[in-house]
Symmetry: C3
């Protein structure tokens, strides 16, 4: 399935954002994650939990009026109750004893930054240290961020958003009406910094005081001359990408830049597959300046939302046509597609590795 | 297909409620019954009729502006007209003679109680006497009933409603917000009375004057002490089930109960398959007391409707997830599922018998 | 697929109406034509153009905010630009040179009468002279026509509208509430005039001054006695059919009829397949009398629209049931179906010829 060679397009053994921290509480939340119905909730102690979202008794969705009892979640159809850590069925109200041998599937979840992260793959492989740290992502000390976006149930395969993010030349067209400063993304050179653990696309640029500076850094901080800055796209895995606004190195040839005035801005893009044809898109932007400037937050929020919505509209338009007219058989690739092409190969390798792994673990007697 | 072993989940040779008596008149009504488009109407003499709902000429739906002419129904596309009893094409207006050899499929229908019953199976096997009598169902002399409900096109396979009805422990959870008296259903013991013709689930209970008594029997009829009563679920076939409110045997140890005061209440549940993933749900409640109490009818109607709608919401939620995530491969069964499990086996046997029958009748030359 | 014997129901090598002339301009328009997403637009010089509607780079729909540049169309995702005649990619903005070897599929289009005609088949076979002339269709000198209808995305296979038009006995039923004069269509005799190039159904009729005359020819032009007139259905191919109102030959036995008073009226029906289960339906009516009578236009427009909408409702009702209940296995044909049956065979032959052609051109190594 486009853009991958086989039907499976998911990397299961990875951390994904399942929801934002503020989305869950004592009321359970159902969300489709990599084709599974997952129910998220907080235990009575406030700890984020996730389990398979359908009751094993009558397949009723646990999120529909389900009630949190301690760590456990109670189904509202017949009251069957399941522990959020072990998955044990701890209560069937119509009979004295609960079954001792049943285990509902539970998921490892971690709360970090504004996100609840989930590991949809093999629990034995889940390593919390693989989640990018708050410091790395731009949520640490000295940063602030907008209240997060959660665009859920987007009708587009996740790779349409991932590849959108890996080629920012689209800023000059798809988002061209949002800012006159987006045009420079079309022709600026790019450099890819790739190691086994890192994948960055860096676009060095030089510009005088602009519309973007005016909005971001306040008119009274106007400088003369040119600044040197970069757009940096960082790929942390199929489920997390950050892009930046101006990461400024020098202003009017002065290499010491006051980040509390001319701050760094990161745009966060968490893309979580829902089904083969849909995904969730979480995001926020974090910054090092105007830390307590709620008026800036309020002004910037709708701009950030509008740009993301243009991407969503594009991705859904493409998906709808792929469904109707078939998957693309050929693609006219441009030089600017180099980052997207490499990420596609990276993810293909991860998919292949999981498929091979699955084959090894398959019992010999299984019929195909 | 869940919960049966093969793809076919329908029992065709059975009486089903096709519509309520008040739903049809001189304007034809189209309704999908066991995957067939059926058109119901009343002849000019007022007799309920049903035939295959598409004109054999151009497949136009006969119900769309179709006109009743005597016993017959006239298609509004080109005026082809079909007799409601024989199915004969009695008129093609654009030519002098009607074809002598065509027969539109017609169905046996019977009007009884508030229902128009239909036999979707082999007409040679249709026996009107197999429809439960009005007396048996609780529509006879000395009873009254609410104007019937017709919830049509419910997006759930019929068995989700049937199994819902066969396990009333759900009253304490799914309907728990409707009445504090529903909690006793969760833990009350049950007895199954099963013969070849009969399938009843009886739950004996004992309770003092309660919220239910207050609503049903009026506060001024309050008694002291405890009453002995039962909840009785009667399965008449895949298409008809009744449940009860309090069927009271004794009040404060007095075994003579005045039914005109402490009456019996039956809830009627007619579940008719539409497609593999949808059904119709007809119902009413009938009672032996407060016979002319229209104020009670008006007060009770929305309560009864709300409970049924909770069941519909549950069934549709389950169906939607079965479609999206696949049919359940395992089920965590409880002791309270015994009645549902036996009914499932009964219906499976009926399906198997019809399939075997169909194989026997299949001409030898037919290729599979 | 009904009503044809194989899955393919399209004749590709034929001229179809893609849109009305007024539907397109500098903003591109996306429309599905024979299962392909086609984008229509006018070049800066105003010439109608059509190309495959998805950008070959990322499958983004060219019609979404796409911009016309000279003859070319620019994709709004990353700015790739394609020439409307050759299909050449003439610009990739993020790089200096455009690829020399890519060709986007373009379509031959012709603007004639109120229509933009398109040839979805083999461009080498497209011959503009096969489009019926304006004179032939009734758009030439001495005619006027209503602003055209464009009913797009009708959820019915195109043949349901074609066969509807080939059997006008439906006027007395489906449209019976629109005019009391429609009843005569049910029983009037018909003659088919068929040559290799021509297919006409002629219904001679005789009638005194009627409701139709009153509306069409004004009450003050009332004549005494009877007129001889004909209803003529002309089939120009799977995509274009005209029907008529009264084509009057004699009035009260006088064979010289003043066409500027008792004019000819043609109803135009352009039916263009979209998918196997949907089509577009374009139309207008043209006439030889009341040429500058805009009040008549305004009065006649809603009548004409309402009749067409009844046909659309019928076709969609049939299609929906064919999808749900399966394609008809038998059809009860009437004598009045003779024209529809012959047209069905004609189109089947055209489909077969294209299929045979396609097989011949298929490379030998292709596996089936």
């Amino acid at each position: 399935m486009h853009p991958f060679k086989d039907k499976n397009i998911f990397v299961r053994n990875a951390w994904y954002v399942g929801c934002s921290t503020e989305e869950i509480g004592s009321k359970p939340l159902e969300r489709v994650i990599l084709n599974e119905p997952v129910v998220f909730y907080r235990s009575e102690a406030g700890v984020a939990m996730a389990m398979y979202g359908l009751c094993p008794h009558r397949a009723y969705p646990l999120a529909l009026q389900g009630r949190v009892v301690g760590n456990a979640l109670r189904c509202n159809y017949h009251g069957f109750t399941f522990d959020g850590r072990t998955g044990a069925c701890i209560l069937i109200p119509s009979q004295p004893a609960a079954p001792s041998n049943y285990r509902q599937k539970t998921y490892k979840v971690v709360e970090r930054g504004p996100w609840i992260w989930i590991w949809p793959g093999d629990p034995a492989l889940a390593d919390e240290r693989e989640i990018p740290s708050s410091e790395m992502l731009g949520f640490g000390e000295g940063w602030t961020y907008l209240r997060p976006f959660a665009f859920t149930g987007i009708k587009a395969r996740y790779m349409l958003l991932v590849e959108n993010l890996m080629d920012l030349t689209h800023l000059g067209y798809l988002h061209g009406d949002m800012s006159s400063d987006f045009e420079i993304y079309v022709t600026s050179p790019l450099e890819i910094i790739e190691t086994e653990d890192t994948f960055k696309v860096v676009r060095p640029m030089r510009q005088g005081w602009s519309e973007t500076h005016d909005v971001m850094f306040k008119p009274e901080n106007r400088f003369e001359g040119l600044s040197d800055f970069a757009s940096i796209t960082t790929y942390y895995g199929p489920g997390y990408i950050t892009t930046t606004s101006h990461i400024t190195h020098a202003i009017d040839s002065l290499p010491t830049v006051d980040k509390t005035v001319y701050g760094d801005v990161y745009f966060h893009h968490a893309v979580t597959p829902a089904t083969e044809h849909s995904c969730h898109y979480f995001g926020t932007s974090s910054r090092t300046h105007r830390l307590d400037d709620r008026a800036f937050d309020e002004a910037f929020y709708p701009f950030d939302a509008a740009v993301r919505q243009q991407d969503i509209v594009a991705a859904e338009a493409i998906e709808a046509r792929m469904i109707q007219f078939g998957e693309p058989r050929t693609e006219l690739m441009a030089k600017a597609d180099i980052a997207a092409a490499r990420i596609r190969r990276r993810i293909q390798r991860a998919i292949d590795a999981e498929t091979a792994e699955a084959r090894v673990h398959q019992p010999v007697a299984a019929a195909f």
